[in-house]
């Protein structure tokens, strides 16, 4: 049953879909969830609809890892964060059942027809979005398959789900979620392959041993009876021996398959789970990467499994229920398991908070990324840190492409956000069609298909197959036969969650509660995954490994649509004659996706997914593959504090932030951004808070000090400002306030020294642009003052005790806009943003000034330097509209830009100290 609120929601979306057909692809971001009507009927929490958890049973978004156990059916394994409060009363078992029932991975392992040995499928993960209106939960679900020798078909289906009450969030962040979860999944799978290989090795040794034992026995028997016929016992033995031999061959084949998993692929991908820090793993890694060694059987395992002694086993492994299944941790090696957990924590933290907030953040980040030349000046160093790894990554992935299209992807991300919203809409459209896709296509989708499917008759069979395998009804059917159990006591599962992810529960078969499932599960979107490709098609590949292209959406269809491949083969290598891919990306921004159908490449891309559902949303994906940019998404300093058990840590910090901001709530509850507890994309979660604090302090500073303008001018023009005072806290506060105006000199941290006691030196002015300095009456203090007066030409001095300022005169207009003491802005973060936007404007002026050819190079031959100088001045005054001292600000920023640009990448470059011989004045309150 679709509840009334759901209908409303759907109707609204459809309405928008209908009238948003033109180029109005931009939609208002959805209301923050606090203000939207809860989707589910109000629960037992009371009649107050504004109560935060009114519509959902969980406190905030979380990640659920679940398994489809062959013994007990779907069961939740762990949640991130591990705090039991977060899922709250949310029924994890029930939801596990839901999400495991829509596995499109269809990972088929076993004996494919026409093949003698069991084949391992290195299937791509599948990614779906589903909603459960009853629970008020929406989830991005990432299915993956791990290998387990003891499991049925050698596979263990798992899934990771990002569960949120906000459907929009899931849809809009689909790309990001998908990318991040893929990393986590890749990590798990890498560890699993390793573990699986070593398990196979052990098994092989067991088998070899068994064979030799059996062989000996047979020989003995042969010798024992020299009659002409065999006893039944002997025949049995011979049969057993034969089956052991067969088993050996099978296992060897499996080992070969798992070992020949192309590691190069892994290197290309953004995730590098192997870190040199763990030596033992390197050993086995090398071992894995050397398949030829694997052929020799027993010799190798001795090297790294010295303690293992082979034991006699039965030829037919009994697939019985009394066997304990391996835990997730055992399945994929403790190192990789913790890595994955870290990644999941990272994801949880990244996507914490309201979707508006996430989106705004992404948009502004995407925009900032475009300003690759100027953004180092006033942006956080943390943000800039991310740039490099990302570039490396892109460098690997699109080697050739980069050469061709250069900066283009970097320039398109902002428009991309627009598409994402547009495409989101289209993906919602297909919600009603997912069950009876063939019959009930809405006109638009039908049209799309008619246009786009035409050119590919050869794909028809595939298409049919796709449709066949897709209906969720079918997968639920499969579930139905399973009679899975969910008697997992919540407390137990959560207590043991992060450490031992697979708590063994009784195998009592309780009737599952899947009676509601048909109604409440709405498959909103899915990605075409490898699983959609018919199995026999795969099997016909000559290679033993059905390794699928390690790619995202486009990659899937690519192999079967060679005609279109040039336009799509992004991952498959450089294609010099291939600008359309990027061109289309650029175009999308300007028009709605609907207008793009004539473009063959993109049309194909769309239709490829139309077979299943529409394209998933892809907000600003292009520009920020991997929002954290760091391989594996794990920043080293983040790895530190969080052990696998440290799930509570991040949540605590967020609460802290919450409490920090509560003081503002009363004053102005209108802005939601402040209250959002999320330090979205937080390489350092404190930065958001720092911004707020700095903004607040700055606001106070400009209101309190009438000479704020010349002080800020000093900072902007590169003159070191020394804040002198006896009270450290006060000085620090002032330094924090003023630090938002300090331009960085390079891609490092801001040149701000919060507190110092030693006499200053000329080197300090070179290095620091804002210094907090202690004033003491001691002789040492006098030395400090001596040094200060000696170098007074390089510094402006703000005396925090006597509230005086000594610095050059400022008569410009820029700073007045930046720091208006009568400003209506009340909140720190708002003011911070205000400053940031004005500084960005300033940066663009500096950029223009620094990079205008005719301002720095003579236009005519033999043009005198004076003419150039006057042209520069003219440009600054009339084109950029600067007056008086504002010129110096822009000149200084331009100088920083130049320095940054011409700096050799390897060397840090000598920091310069630029100064002017200008008189200083004393300002008093």
């Amino acid at each position: 049953m679709i509840g009334a609120p759901d209908v409303v929601a759907l109707a609204r979306q459809e309405e928008e879909a209908a009238d948003g057909g033109g180029d109005g692809a931009w939609r208002e971001p959805p209301l923050p969830e606090e203000y939207s009507v809860p989707l589910a009927p109000l629960g037992g929490h009371g009649a107050n609809p504004w109560w935060r958890a009114g519509g959902r049973k969980f406190l905030r978004d979380f990640i659920l890892v679940a398994e489809f156990s062959e013994q007990v059916g779907p069961q939740p394994l762990l949640t991130v964060p591990g705090d039991a409060k977060v899922p709250g009363s949310f029924d994890l078992n029930y939801f596990s059942l839901r999400i495991m029932s829509v596995d499109y991975q269809a990972s088929f392992v076993g004996h494919p027809p026409g093949c003698a040995y069991p084949k391992l499928n290195f299937v791509e993960d599948s990614k779906v979005v589903l909603g459960d209106s009853k629970e008020g939960a929406f989830a991005y679900v990432h299915h993956l398959t791990l290998y387990d020798l003891e499991a049925r078909g050698f596979v263990r289906p798992f899934c990771m789900a990002y569960i949120s009450a906000d459907e929009h969030k899931i849809m809009q962040q689909f790309q990001e979620l998908s990318a991040e979860f893929s990393k986590a999944s890749e990590c798990l799978k890498t560890g699993n392959r390793k573990a699986f290989a070593s398990e196979l090795e052990k098994k092989l040794r067991d088998l070899e041993y068994t064979r030799s034992v059996l062989h000996n026995e047979t020989e003995i028997q042969k010798k024992a009876n020299d009659k002409g016929y065999y006893t039944t016992q002997a025949i049995e033995k011979a049969n057993e021996l034969a089956s052991v031999e067969k088993s050996i061959i099978e296992h060897q084949d499996l080992l070969k398959q798992i070992r020949s998993y192309p590691y190069r692929k892994l290197k290309d991908s953004e995730f590098h789970p192997y870190e040199p820090e763990c030596a033992p793993e390197q050993g086995s890694d090398r071992d894995l990467a050397a398949p030829e060694l694997a052929e020799e059987g027993e010799a190798i395992p001795c090297s790294h499994l010295p303690s293992y002694t082979p034991k006699l086993i039965k030829a037919k492994s009994a697939k019985c229920f009394d066997k304990k299944l391996k835990t997730l941790e055992e399945l994929c090696d403790i190192y990789f398991f913790t890595q994955t957990l870290d990644q999941l924590h990272q994801i949880e933290r990244t996507f914490r908070g309201d979707v508006c907030y996430l989106l705004t953040n992404q948009i502004s980040r995407a925009l900032l990324k475009q300003q690759s030349i100027t953004n180092f000046l006033f942006e956080d160093a943390s943000f800039l840190d991310e740039k490099n790894p990302e570039k490396q990554y892109r460098g690997c992935q699109e080697l050739g492409q980069d050469a061709v299209d250069g900066k283009c992807p970097e320039e398109s991300p902002a428009p991309k956000v627009v598409i994402s919203l547009g495409s989101y809409k289209s993906s919602v459209e297909c919600v009603p069609i997912k069950m009876e896709q063939d019959i009930d296509d809405p006109p638009e989708a039908a049209m799309t298909e008619s246009v786009t499917f035409e050119p590919q008759e050869n794909l028809d069979y595939l298409d049919a197959d796709l449709k066949g395998s897709i209906s969720s009804g079918e997968s639920i059917e499969v579930l139905g036969t399973e009679k899975s159990a969910s008697g997992l006591p919540k407390s137990e599962s959560q207590a043991s969650l992060p450490i031992s992810p697979s708590p063994q529960v009784g195998r009592s078969k309780v009737g599952s509660r899947r009676t509601v499932s048909e109604d409440s599960i709405e498959v909103l979107s899915t990605c075409p995954s490898e699983a959609l490709i018919p199995e026999d098609f795969k099997a016909s590949y000559p290679s033993a490994i059905n390794e699928e292209p390690y790619a995202d959406e486009e990659g899937g269809g690519l192999r079967f649509a060679p005609r279109f491949s040039p336009a799509e083969e992004r991952e498959d290598g450089p294609d010099p004659a291939n600008p359309p891919r990027v061109d289309s990306a650029c175009c999308i921004g300007k028009e709605s996706p609907r207008f793009l159908e004539p473009l063959p490449g993109l049309a194909h891309k769309l239709c490829d997914e139309d077979g299943v559902v529409r394209i998933p949303p892809q907000p600003s994906r292009q520009a920020e593959q991997g929002p954290e940019g760091v391989p594996g998404g794990l920043l080293p300093h983040e790895l530190e504090p969080r052990s696998p058990t440290g799930g509570g840590e991040p949540s605590r910090s967020s609460l802290d932030e919450c409490s920090d901001s509560t003081s503002y709530i009363s004053s102005a509850a209108s802005t939601c951004s402040d209250r959002t507890p999320s330090p979205a994309r937080p390489p350092c979660p404190a930065s958001e808070r720092h911004k707020k604090k700095a903004g607040q302090n700055a606001l106070r500073f400009i209101r309190q000090y009438p000479f704020a303008h010349p002080a800020i001018y000093s900072l902007l023009s590169g003159r070191t400002l020394v804040v002198l005072g006896e009270d450290e806290a006060m000085v620090r506060k002032l330094v924090t306030a003023l630090s938002i105006f300090v331009p960085s000199c390079g891609a490092h941290a801001k040149p701000v020294k919060h507190w110092g006691t030693a006499p200053l030196h000329v080197v300090d002015f070179q290095k620091w642009k804002l210094i907090g300095l202690q004033r003491t009456a001691s002789p040492a203090g006098v030395n400090v003052l001596h040094a200060l007066s000696r170098y007074s030409r390089y510094v402006s001095i703000l005396d925090a005790d006597s509230k005086t300022l000594r610095c050059p005169l400022y008569k410009g207009a820029l700073v007045a806009r930046l720091a208006d003491h009568r400003t209506q802005i009340k909140r720190g973060s708002t003011y911070y943003m205000h400053v940031q936007s004005l500084l960005t404007q300033l940066c663009s002026k500096a950029f223009l000034f620094a990079f205008c050819h005719h301002l720095h190079l003579p236009v005519a031959e033999r043009e005198p330097e004076e003419a150039l100088a006057s042209r520069r001045l003219n440009f600054l005054k009339h084109h950029l509209g600067l007056a008086n001292e504002d010129l110096k600000i822009v000149q200084y920023l331009a100088e920083l830009l130049k320095l940054q640009y011409i700096q050799e990448p390897g060397r840090g470059g000598n920091p310069l100290l630029r100064f002017d011989y200008v008189p200083s004045f004393l300002y008093k309150i």
Partner: protein, 459 residues
């Protein structure tokens, strides 16, 4: 300033209101040096700077390490290790022959009684001479003869291959403090109070052999000769610790003129006694001499004096140009004079024709306030009167460079590239014309843009 910093009431009562030192405000229009680069590397006092070619220089000091720097970028090119004790002398030795490819050598002498020849194009040590009986205190290269001299307790003559050609007998234990080349294959060596003239004579038997012969001893100075400079082929000038300046004929080594009382040469006897009381001999010693065609510039104590060779008198002076001893002065082509001092500052002066000179050409600015704890009102009056009484010329302060926190030992003027100063605070500072640097950076920027192909539009 300091008073303001310290805050009212806390200031000691005896704080000097004004110092005698002429000061310039923070507004220095004529000062071109608006950018600086601090070069770090030395671990002890940096005493010597020597120019190698158009854009490189070497620095050496008490840590025994020689650094080679790029004067444009401030990049450290080489670090030459070889001496175990402090460097006492350094001299560039560029090849004289046009036929030979340009090789830049530098000679360094150290307190470890060795001289090392370094190749500046690599960081190679060409050769090391360690047969000295005492520390070599001065090195002079005679380009004409392609030999070099080392002066310690004796004077040795070496050729390019580091063969010892000849040496004098042991002169004194104190040794030769400075050497200067004179015409006719002569050199003047300052040994304590004496000035000894040596002549190099080509030996008859060998083609490349030289003999050294003491020609004359001049004993006119009353105290140690500290500075020695050759003005032109006809004259050279010496200065001593007690403030004697003697102009010599370079051909026949006779005294042409002498100026011995720098501190009372001016005509104002009323203040003289007071000054004499306050001045120790150290403050009248001739620390350094430099010259151009017509004038000799002497750093005497804290002051700078301009001695005209034609007029044979001091034509301009700045009695207290710095707060403490002036260590090095140099005349620039554009009538400017740069001086550096133990007080850690570098000052740029301009020698101007006197018109109607006001008593204080530059208003006392900010810096006069931090003459801390020095009572010298009288000196200030003296300075004023000096200015009024100089006849034709005066030295005007056009700029000062503050950066070092300790004595500035020496500086090197690199023309357009800027000015290099070295100091006892272990630092070398490269002072540059900010405008010029900015232009250069723009040029580099556009070159790099063109290289990267970023100038083309990408749409």
């Amino acid at each position: 300033m300091l008073r303001w910093l310290i805050g009212g009431g806390r200031e000691p009562q005896g704080l000097a209101e004004k110092s005698s030192v002429q000061t310039i405000g923070e507004e220095q229009i004529q000062n071109p040096y608006t950018e600086l680069l601090v070069l770090k590397g030395h671990q002890d006092i940096v005493r010597f700077l020597v120019q190698i070619d158009d854009c490189r220089f070497a620095s050496a000091g008490d840590d025994g390490i020689i650094f080679l720097w790029n004067a444009q970028t401030g990049e450290k090119l080489f670090e030459l290790h070889g001496h175990t004790q402090k460097i006492t002398a350094i001299a560039p030795f560029s090849s004289s022959d046009a036929s030979e490819e340009k090789s830049n050598l530098i000679l360094t002498a150290s307190a470890d009684k060795t001289v090392i020849v370094w190749d500046c194009t690599t960081d190679r040590q060409v050769q090391k001479v360690s047969c000295f009986h005492s520390t070599v205190k001065c090195l002079t290269v005679l380009q004409r003869l392609d030999v070099w001299l080392s002066g310690g307790s004796d004077l040795c003559v070496w050729n390019r291959k580091l063969d010892l050609l000849c040496k004098t007998s042991h002169l004194t234990d104190a040794g030769i403090s400075t050497l200067v080349e004179l015409p006719k294959n002569c050199v003047a060596a300052a040994v304590g109070k004496e000035l000894i003239i040596f002549r190099l004579i080509a030996s008859s038997d060998k083609s490349e052999g030289w003999n050294i012969l003491e020609v004359k001893r001049l004993v006119d100075h009353h105290d140690n000769i500290l500075s020695l400079v050759s003005v032109n082929d006809l004259t050279f000038v010496t200065g001593s610790h007690v403030g004697e300046l003697i102009v010599w004929d370079a051909i026949d080594w006779t005294m042409q003129a002498s100026e011995c009382n720098f501190w009372d040469s001016s005509v104002h006897p009323d203040s003289q006694t007071e000054i004499k009381l306050s001045q120790s001999p150290n403050e009248t010693s001739v620390q350094h001499l430099t010259c151009d065609e017509e004038c000799v510039f002497a750093a005497v104590g804290k002051g700078i004096y301009v001695y005209n060779l034609q007029m044979k008198r001091v034509i301009a002076c700045q009695r207290t140009a710095h707060d403490s001893s002036v260590l090095h002065i140099e005349k620039l082509p554009n009538r400017q004079l740069i001086s550096c001092s133990e007080d850690g500052s570098v000052r740029i002066w301009e020698l101007r024709e006197k018109q109607q000179v006001p008593a204080e050409p530059v208003p006392t600015g900010f810096f006069n306030m931090w003459g801390f704890g020095r009572a010298n009102k009288q000196a200030n009056q003296a300075a004023k009167k000096t200015q009024e009484n100089t006849t034709m010329h005066f030295l005007e302060l056009v700029g000062d460079l503050i950066g070092h926190s300790s004595a500035v030992q020496m500086f090197l003027y690199f023309g357009e590239l800027g000015l290099v100063t070295c100091s006892a605070d272990h630092l070398i500072i490269l002072w540059k014309d900010g405008e010029r640097e900015s232009r250069l950076r723009s040029l580099t920027l556009f070159q790099k843009l063109a290289q990267n192909g970023d100038l083309q539009l990408k749409f």
